[in-house]
């Protein structure tokens, strides 16, 4: 896959942005896998939400989806 020129021109902006998004995704993904009791929905649904909806997905999971038990 060829990286578009515009991304290469703005690496200083894209790299931290991608790192943060991926970091947020991984934090949420680990939480989804380790705490399998959710307020609603099932594991597969939350994995799909967290992985494919950038930024909003993890927020929705941590606010509405996660169970009360630590």
């Amino acid at each position: 896959m060829e990286i578009p020129e515009i991304v290469l021109d703005n690496l200083l902006l894209f790299i931290p942005l991608i790192l943060l998004e991926v970091g947020l995704m991984i934090t949420a993904l680990i939480h989804v896998l380790k705490h399998p009791d959710y307020k609603f929905g099932n594991k597969l649904m939350w994995i799909l939400i967290v992985v494919f909806i950038q930024i909003i997905g993890p927020i929705v999971y941590f606010v509405f989806g996660r169970g009360e038990n630590e």
Partner: protein, 254 residues
């Protein structure tokens, strides 16, 4: 005072454990990076979506565009993320029943509200300042022009609005029994303020005007002292909502 100190500590631990603090900071850092990026990319996106048939003269992006994006991101998304994250701060605690023990053991109820307010307001202010510094750094690097001289002054109204919003969140959460009711209350109140802003003679006093004029303050077109009324009203409303939340809490059945 001791109550406030210990309860604040507990609150901070809670926002850390539930990952709310982390989410808030990451999202605001993302906004900080996204704003200059959007300013840089918008002309490119326009070019590629219209193709080469139409000759468009798109002006080069300046630091103003970057700040426009910043205030758009923060005021149209950021503040709502704060609201969503903390709309159950009081009601959640009451419905879980975790306060019953503490209050019967002598914890002051007003300390609960004070700590909640302090923690939410602190996080809001820290998140906004963090986001602001990142945008400021990138903007200075990518758009080194003199179009936006008053960046720090322009941030002041936004910070005051955050203090007001935090009180609104705590009050909304105190009067409602679940997180959705609190969320609904806060969002509806903000929507009402936006509606009130349509009337020009009210808008001078309206707290919502604190997040509408930032870019023009930044350019030096509006002076900060034009917003003194809105700022004073917001701070008064903050104190009022805060005391109201305490009296609601005092009467609340745990």
């Amino acid at each position: 005072m001791k109550d406030i100190y210990y309860f604040t500590k507990k609150e901070l631990l809670e926002v850390w454990r539930t990952k709310r603090l982390l989410i808030l900071l990451i999202v605001f850092i993302i906004f900080g990076i996204l704003s200059p990026l959007m300013a840089k990319l918008t002309p490119e996106i326009l070019k590629s979506s219209f193709g080469s048939e139409i000759q468009l003269t798109i002006p080069e992006p300046t630091s103003i565009d970057s700040w426009v994006q910043f205030y758009k991101n923060i005021t149209q998304m950021g503040i709502y993320i704060l609201v969503i994250l903390y709309s159950n701060s009081v009601s959640g605690e009451v419905s879980r029943g975790s306060l019953t023990n503490l209050v019967t053991k002598g914890l002051n109820r007003s300390a609960v509200i004070t700590s909640k307010y302090l923690v939410i307001a602190m996080q809001g202010v820290v998140a906004v300042c963090l986001s602001f510094s990142i945008t400021a750094a990138y903007t200075a690097y990518y758009f080194p022009d003199n179009n936006s001289p008053h960046i720090v002054i322009a941030l002041v109204p936004l910070l005051i609005f955050i203090l007001f919003l935090s009180a609104l969140i705590v009050f909304g959460s105190a009067i409602s029994s679940n997180s959705f009711a609190g969320l609904l209350f806060t969002i509806t109140t903000i929507a009402l303020f936006y509606l009130m802003n349509l009337f020009e003679n009210i808008s001078k006093f309206n707290p919502i005007s604190l997040i509408g004029e930032n870019v023009s303050i930044l350019q030096g077109e509006t002076q900060l002292n034009e917003q003194y009324w809105a700022m004073s009203i917001s701070l008064l409303a903050t104190i009022f909502l805060f005391s109201a939340a305490i009296s609601v809490m005092n009467k609340k059945k745990l």
